[in-house]
Amino acid sequence: MSLSRFLRTLQLALKSVMLHKLRSGLTMLGIVFGVFSVIAMLAIGEGASSQAQKQVLELGATNIIVRSVKPPDETSSSSSGGGQSFVLRYGLTRKDLEVISETIPSVMGVVPVRELTQEVRHQQYTLNARVVGSTPEYLEMNHLGMEQGRFLTDHDLEEMANVVVLAHETARILFPFENPIGQPVQIASRAYRVIGVTQDRTASAAIGGSLSGQDYNKDVYMPLFTLQTRLNTGDLFIRRTQGSFSAVSVVYDQITLKVGDKNGLTDDRDLVIPTAEVVRETIRNLHGEGTNDFSVVVPLELLKQADQIRKIFNIVLGSIAAISLIVGGIGIMNIMLATVTERTREIGIRRALGARRRDIIQQFLTETIVLSGTGGLIGIMMGLLTPAAFVGIKWFVDAYVMDQTTGRSDLGRLFSDMEPQVAMWSLPVAFGVSVAIGVIFGTYPARAAARLDPIEALRHE
């Protein structure tokens, strides 16, 4: 088909479609909403997955996080000492840390963490902060940056220095008017000197439910040994008060492991999951069979889970899309069949004047494709507006549905967590599918039109 002939057929089809604007518009609706919903849903899915990816990168794609878990009931925990002792011991021990870092070759770095919630005070300003005892590597492992001053050093650790680093928000609350560097803060009636402030860092939301969202902005960091000695929480102190009162003993709340190949031969990411397996096995051997006092979280696995969820999401979405597009196609076919009947006389006239069967097929097929293709284009344009529409929805929810006490409603959080991103590949695909729908559902009516006997068609009405 030559270009001029194609353009002529297209022009003819546009003319017919424009002749009944309302009818054509209504006919297109099925395709419009089908295409729009596919693009919008894909955009939401894409946004969610890129957010998951970002979060995993924040947690560290080559990290393995081992956390202490309080056993569900007493029987599964081990009590030390005699019957008078109620010291509940569970979780990650110093021994675990040593064995893991010394026997597993792919573990390149180990950052133990002990955390407590404590009241932190400076003059009249107080804050219930998460006090994190850790090592200098904590900074890098968690992708934190310094705003001012410095982070903890090995020297601080060895010396059990009475120093703290404040997170951005903590510093702002405790020192609204002063520079905190060099100033003292009080934690459990002891004073610590502020040596640095970390940069602002937005909370990372929970992924897959296995790791609670961390708000790094309300932290106070101090050397691990300082926390364990001074804040009376480490295993050292609990043991000495054995038998006199019940206590909980945990050495580390969390150990973050960095995985890598010392020789740089394999991709670090490929080592993460096997290493996690070895870590699980090692700790299980150390703690004894059947103990459930730790959990291993692998951010990379979370990424894979997120991918899996997205795949399922896409399949479900694809099915819904297929159904809605088929329904749209049937709607178009229905109208086209009615059109063919309505225009039987016109078909007869064209045939008498020399139109061949395939000219009639082309005419009606093009008309159907123009309908479905235009519907697709409108749907695409609506789909492109999804991110902008979300901004509007968020604004509306923030303005009118906000919960006064928490500052945010569940609905608000739901929407603010969504960042739709239109998947560019979905646009040509959506258009192609719309055109294909036109071809599939237009062929039958077009053939029906071409099959008409010219003499009978001329006699119609």
């Binding site: 088909m1 030559s2 001029s4 002939r5 002529r8 003319k15 017919s16 002749l19 006389r345 016109e346 007869g348 006239i349 064209r350 045939r351 008498a352 004047l353 020399g354 139109a355 061949r356 069967r357 000219d359 010219p454 003499i455 001329l458």
Partner: protein
């Protein structure tokens, strides 16, 4: 004078299952170039059936129809379409214009289906305007059929029949829907065309119309019952 078309023992049967309607039972006819024939006869005698065969809208059950030296009785649907487009011009009783098109666009329709589908050139467009002028519609090119009188609509149909310069013009009761004054105008146009050398075959019930042609053919029960200049 050479023959544009010749019919040899043409039959057309409609098999309706229980009965077979014999619409044409063996019609032979020579149509010389430049002829102007009126086909007459009572209702149901087979006039329209004959005209549809002559117009290549249908194939005969048996017999031959040779148009421009080619036998159309065995042609495929595609070939018949090509013949209709290039060799035949149709004029119908009910005008049969495309309602959503303007006068000019209606005249152009046969150009859309020319062999090879050449684009409509400026020359083609000028020809459309010439033909429209010829039937007296030069000032109505942008009108739609519903804005025109019956006589004007039939003129559009005549212009449309002329646009591809056909060998024969087929007219099935072209004045059947028109009053006598308009009828006269249309017949005058057809007579003028015949005087220019066009071959015209026209079905009519009106003696007054038939009298204006060169030759009359009387149909009865699917056969030609008589032929010759109408005695008066």
């Amino acid at each position: 004078m050479s023959s544009v078309a010749s019919l040899v023992n043409l039959t057309k049967f409609y098999d309706l299952g229980s009965v077979v309607v014999k619409a044409l039972r063996g019609v032979s006819l020579e149509i010389p170039e430049g002829d102007f024939i009126a086909i007459m006869g009572s209702s149901g005698s087979g006039k329209s059936t004959l005209l549809n065969l002559l117009g290549a809208l249908d194939r005969p059950t048996e017999g031959q129809y040779i148009l421009n030296g080619r036998d159309t009785s065995q042609m495929s649907d595609n070939e018949l379409s090509i013949v209709r487009n290039s060799d035949i011009g149709f004029i119908f009783q009910s005008f049969n214009l495309i309602t959503q098109y303007t006068v000019l666009e209606n005249i152009e329709v046969p150009l859309l289906y020319r062999t090879g589908y050449p684009p409509i050139s400026a020359r083609d467009r000028n020809r459309c305007i010439d033909v429209a002028n010829q039937v007296g519609l030069g000032d109505r090119l942008d009108h739609r059929p519903f804005q025109l009188s019956g006589g004007q609509q039939q003129r559009v149909a005549i212009a449309r029949a002329l646009i591809n310069d056909p060998a024969i013009i087929m007219a099935d009761e072209p004045t059947g829907n028109l009053d006598s004054k308009t009828e006269e105008e249309i017949i005058q146009i057809l007579t003028d065309l015949n005087n220019e050398g066009r071959t015209i075959i026209m079905v009519t019930h009106e003696n007054s119309v038939a009298r204006r042609t060169k030759r009359q053919v009387f149909m009865k029960d699917g056969l030609i019952a008589g032929e010759g200049i109408f005695p008066g």
